[in-house]
C-alpha cells in the first residue's frame, strides 16, 4: 500500500481582534488571510473577495483606523488590531452612515459587490481630505475597481457624502423627503 506523506502542520496561532467593537479570539493557520478570518470565522461576509491580485479593493476594511486590503494581510499580522468592516458603518439603530446614505441617493451601486470596499475607501479619503475635488475622489478610489457603474455615480456619492459630513447638506436629500411626503 502506498504511504501518503503529509507535511508537518505549521503551528496554529491564536489571534485576538476587535471587530466593529466586539472582541474575538480565534486560532488560525499562519497562511490564513485576514479577509477569510472576517468572512469565514466571524461570519462578516460584507467584506468581499474579488480578485487574486490585490487590485480590486473589494476586501477593503479599516485596520486601526486606516483603510487596507484585507486580502493582502495575514490574520496573524492583525493580532491585537481594531478592525471596522462595512457591517460597522450603519449605527446600532440601523441608520445608514452618511456615505451609505449618499450611495443610496446618488445610485452609487448596481450589483453592490465593490460597494463595501468603495464606502470604506471613501471614508478614508474624506477623513484625509474632507472637501475633495472630482479628480481627488477619483485618485482616492484608485484602489477599488467597479465593473458595473463606470464610477460616475460613485464619484457623485463621494462628493455628496463630503457635503453631508461637513454639514453643508442634510443627511437626507430634501427632494427625497418631499417625495416621501406625497
Amino acid at each position: 500500500m502506498t504511504q501518503v506523506q503529509t507535511l508537518a502542520e505549521p503551528r496554529s496561532h491564536s489571534v485576538a481582534v476587535t471587530v466593529n467593537g466586539t472582541r474575538y479570539t480565534r486560532d488560525v493557520e499562519p497562511r490564513q488571510l485576514l479577509v477569510y478570518l472576517l468572512r469565514e470565522q466571524l461570519g462578516l461576509t460584507g467584506t468581499h473577495v474579488g480578485c487574486d491580485t490585490s487590485q480590486c479593493g473589494a476586501c477593503t476594511v479599516l485596520l486601526n483606523g486606516t483603510a487596507v486590503k484585507s486580502c493582502t494581510i495575514l490574520a496573524v499580522q492583525a493580532d491585537g488590531a481594531e478592525i471596522k468592516t462595512i457591517e460597522g458603518f450603519a449605527d446600532a439603530s440601523g441608520r445608514l452612515h452618511p456615505i451609505q446614505q449618499a450611495f443610496w441617493e446618488e445610485h452609487g451601486l448596481q450589483c453592490g459587490f465593490c460597494t463595501p470596499g468603495m464606502v470604506i475607501a471613501i471614508d478614508q479619503l474624506l477623513r484625509d481630505n474632507p472637501s475633495p475635488t472630482d479628480e481627488e475622489v477619483r485618485r482616492g478610489i484608485e484602489g477599488n475597481l467597479c465593473r458595473c457603474t463606470g464610477y460616475q455615480n460613485i464619484v457623485k456619492s463621494a462628493l455628496s457624502a463630503s457635503k453631508k459630513l461637513s454639514g453643508q447638506e442634510p443627511f437626507e436629500k430634501p427632494e427625497l423627503q418631499q417625495a416621501a411626503a406625497v
Binding site: R11, R31, S54, T66, V76, G143
Partner: protein, 288 residues
C-alpha cells in the same frame, strides 16, 4: 488562491529577526507590509517555509533629518512618507513618487525598504533612489554595512542584499539648492505598476546642467540609470531641444521587456518620453 503552508514568527528585535532568518537556512523571508511578497505567495510564485514578520519591532518606523540626510526607517510606510515634513523639506520627490505607488490602501502598508529589498522591475522606488543617490543600511550575521545604490539592483527581483540580511534604514541626501527632481510614470491602470517610470535629479550651475542623475523603472529587468542620457545632459543648457536630444538613448543597451501590457517598442518609447518629461520638470524645479 491562498499561500502554501509556512511557519510564522514575529520577533520583537532585529537580533531575533536575524537569528530566525539564519535558522530558516535560505527558506525564510522577511515580511513587513507584505504588499509585494503576499501577492506572490498567493499565486504560489514564492513559497517560503518561514515568514519572519518584522512589523512588531519598535523603533523602525522613523523618518528624520540628520547629518544632511533624510533617514527613512525600514518600517516607514508610503503613507508615513507622504505625511512627513522631513521628506517634504529635504527630499520632496520621494513624496511625489510615494503618492504614485499602488493606491491608498497599498500605501498604508507598503514600505520603502521593502520595495528596495524586493527589487520588482516595475516598482517605483528603485528608480527614485537611483536618481537621488540613496544609500541602504543593512544588518546581517556578519554585522552592519552601508550599500551604495548604484549596483544594488542586480536583476529581476535580485539585489545585493544577502540572504540573511535585513534593511534597517534608507538614507537620502537632502536636496541641495540649485537642484530639482521629478518622478513621472505611465502606469497599468489596475495594478498601477509602471509600464515605464522615470525619476530625474538635475543640478544647474550658471544656467547649464552641472549634474544629472536619472532612474528608469518598468522598462528593463531591473531599475537602471541611463548613463548615456546623463552624460549627454551635463554641460548643456536645459532647453527643450537639448533635453529631447539627450533622452533619445533612454532605453539603449537595455533588455527592454514586453508583455500583455506593452511591447518592448512601446516601453522603449515610454522610457524616452518620460525621461524627457522628468528632466524638463526637474530642470524647471532647479531654476525654482
Amino acid at each position: 488562491m491562498f499561500p502554501a503552508k509556512f511557519e510564522y514568527a514575529a520577533p520583537s528585535t532585529v537580533e531575533e529577526a536575524l537569528a530566525l532568518l539564519k535558522q530558516g537556512n535560505g527558506d525564510a523571508k522577511i515580511i513587513a507590509g507584505g504588499h509585494s511578497l503576499l501577492p506572490l505567495m498567493k499565486l504560489r510564485l514564492a513559497q517560503p517555509k518561514l515568514l519572519v514578520d518584522i512589523g512588531r519591532i519598535t523603533g523602525l518606523s522613523y523618518i528624520r533629518t540628520e547629518g544632511g540626510n533624510v533617514l527613512v526607517g525600514a518600517l516607514a510606510t508610503y503613507r508615513d512618507i507622504l505625511q512627513s515634513p522631513d521628506v517634504h523639506r529635504g527630499a520632496p520627490v520621494l513624496a511625489e513618487a510615494a503618492h504614485e505607488v499602488g493606491d491608498p490602501q497599498v500605501r498604508a502598508r507598503g514600505t520603502l525598504a521593502g520595495s528596495l529589498a524586493h527589487g520588482d522591475p516595475a516598482a517605483d522606488m528603485p528608480a527614485v533612489v537611483l536618481a537621488l543617490e540613496a544609500s541602504i543600511h543593512a544588518v546581517g550575521p556578519d554585522g552592519e554595512r552601508d550599500l551604495p545604490i548604484d549596483n544594488f539592483f542586480v536583476d529581476m527581483l535580485t539585489t545585493l542584499l544577502g540572504e540573511h540580511e535585513l534593511i534597517t534604514q534608507v538614507s537620502i541626501p537632502v536636496q541641495s539648492p540649485g537642484t530639482g527632481a521629478a518622478y513621472l510614470k505611465f502606469d497599468q491602470p489596475a495594478s498601477h505598476y509602471a509600464l515605464a517610470g522615470a525619476c530625474a535629479r538635475i543640478t544647474l550651475a550658471d544656467g547649464t546642467i552641472s549634474q544629472a542623475r536619472i532612474g528608469v523603472t518598468g522598462v528593463g529587468t531591473k531599475a537602471y540609470r541611463p548613463t548615456a542620457v546623463e552624460e549627454a545632459l551635463v554641460g548643456k543648457a536645459p532647453t527643450e531641444d537639448a533635453i529631447k536630444q539627450a533622452c533619445q538613448s533612454a532605453a539603449e543597451g537595455i533588455d527592454v521587456q514586453g508583455d500583455i501590457h506593452a511591447s518592448p517598442d512601446y516601453r522603449a518609447h515610454l522610457a524616452r518620453v518620460l525621461t524627457r518629461r522628468a528632466v524638463v520638470k526637474a530642470a524647471e524645479r532647479a531654476r525654482g
